[in-house]
Amino acid sequence: MGKIEIRNVFKIFGHQEDKALELARQGLGKEEILSQSGCSVGLNNVSMTIDPGKIFVIMGLSGSGKSTLVRHLNRLIEPSSGEVLFDGKNILDLSPKELRKFRTHHISMVFQSFALMPHRTVLQNVIYGQRVRGTARQQAREIGQQWIDAVNLSGYENKYPHELSGGMRQRVGLARALAADTDVILMDEAFSALDPLIRAEMQDQLLELQTKLSKTIVFITHDLEEALRIGSEIAILKDGELVQVGKPADILNNPANDYVARFVERRPVGVGAK
């Protein structure tokens, strides 16, 4: 399982949260709310459903709220208002202890700047989730080794992150998320820091792993090409608002508004024709 539903989520950053929230509910845009209350709007009434077993891409430019949105799914950020349901249960109701259990068992994450622990080896990084969960060291090491092999890093188990290249570090990040054995993996601009060739390689590897594992993957990117390549479904965010959700073909053929259309036109020729 791993069905995620987001219902009417607002996120306001600033001191006058209540006032800004009220303005947002009245349907005002980001700029107006900023000038009237001094608060910046991270997310403005976002609702979406993420089906299990697929790669769901959330796309937007920087400042569109996509990284904020993905952090709501494992409650690294609390919404100002709204609900986040996981398999029908509101995760905002979880106590700190339940929340930790939810994170270890149901949802893991890959970060843009890798966020590996520099004082731990590759293997120790990969088994972090399993160790937190309480898996015995020996068993966790076996699981870790299996995923290190799966991302083609065999032989690097005992190296430290600073000894690896960027692409290899992100493989460690991916192995760490996979080894946690969760239903959902959140990937926050996971490949954006990599150079184009390695990036394409990582995308292929992700697609390959996905066909085998069929996990729910929520993938954040600012790159339409990447979104079209790996996404089963794409959601486009602008200024904290959801602009369009649909299959890659829908986005290409029926852009919901000018903003999406401009995005699509800029696309390099020949990409995304699946």
Binding site: N74, A115, L116, P118, V132, R133, Y160
Partner: protein
Amino acid sequence: MFPDNLHYSIRGPVNDFIEMLVINYGWVFKAISHALLQSVLLIESALRGLPWWCVIIIFMVGAWYSSRRIILTAAVGMLLFLVGVLGLWDLTMQTLALMLMATIVSVLIGVPVGILAAKNGFVRGTILPILDIMQTMPSFVYLIPALMLFGLGKVPAILATIIYAVPPLIRLTDLGIRQVDKEVVEAATAFGGSPIRILFGVELPLATPTIMAGLNQTIMMALSMVVVASMIGARGLGEQVLNGIQTLDVGKGLEAGIGIVILAVLLDRITQGFGKTRAGGASNG
């Protein structure tokens, strides 16, 4: 002239307060004093009970373990040997015991307070000005009440040393924890780590080089207090310096001075080494 009718002295109330403490809560201070004294005597008897070569070997092992440099290790052994040759062995061990005790208590206070300051803005806002006061207030000002509460000897000397030496450890623990990469902490949180687990498994290990730099500063500042400490009856190298000044015996004062400097150099190099070895593995991560 400042008008006399606006004059108000806090002298009386403060003196009354200290007197009240001595009369009503003397037993508390006696108990603290007793515990500290027993601990420092234990360290001292261990250091002076060991054969001299054994102490030198312990120091050399420490130097090797921290720096992995043969020259430094050899220099540490030579310098300690020189201390013995100058006839300062016993005095140096007394001073060392005092320093170790002050450092241990400083770590027990400094690291937890530093962690609290890093985690809580209110605590940091309260602690920082207090640290400024601790570092700038002339030490004799708190030596006097310390004497009244704890009597003459090692205990007030240790406490005065701690007041003077603990601030850098608190500051650098706070800084070290706050400098830990936010993304790494976020990742540990995202994988379900509890705050305690993240503190001990991620934040403290990554802050270790900074904390070690703070410990190094604390030890150095503690050593700079030995002469002052000897004025309230702590024995050791400081007493010898004081003695030299009082009798105009320049040679005696210099000998003891050299002893203090050697102790400072040894402890400095060894603790610095520990900071660096850890830093090597964790850099550009």
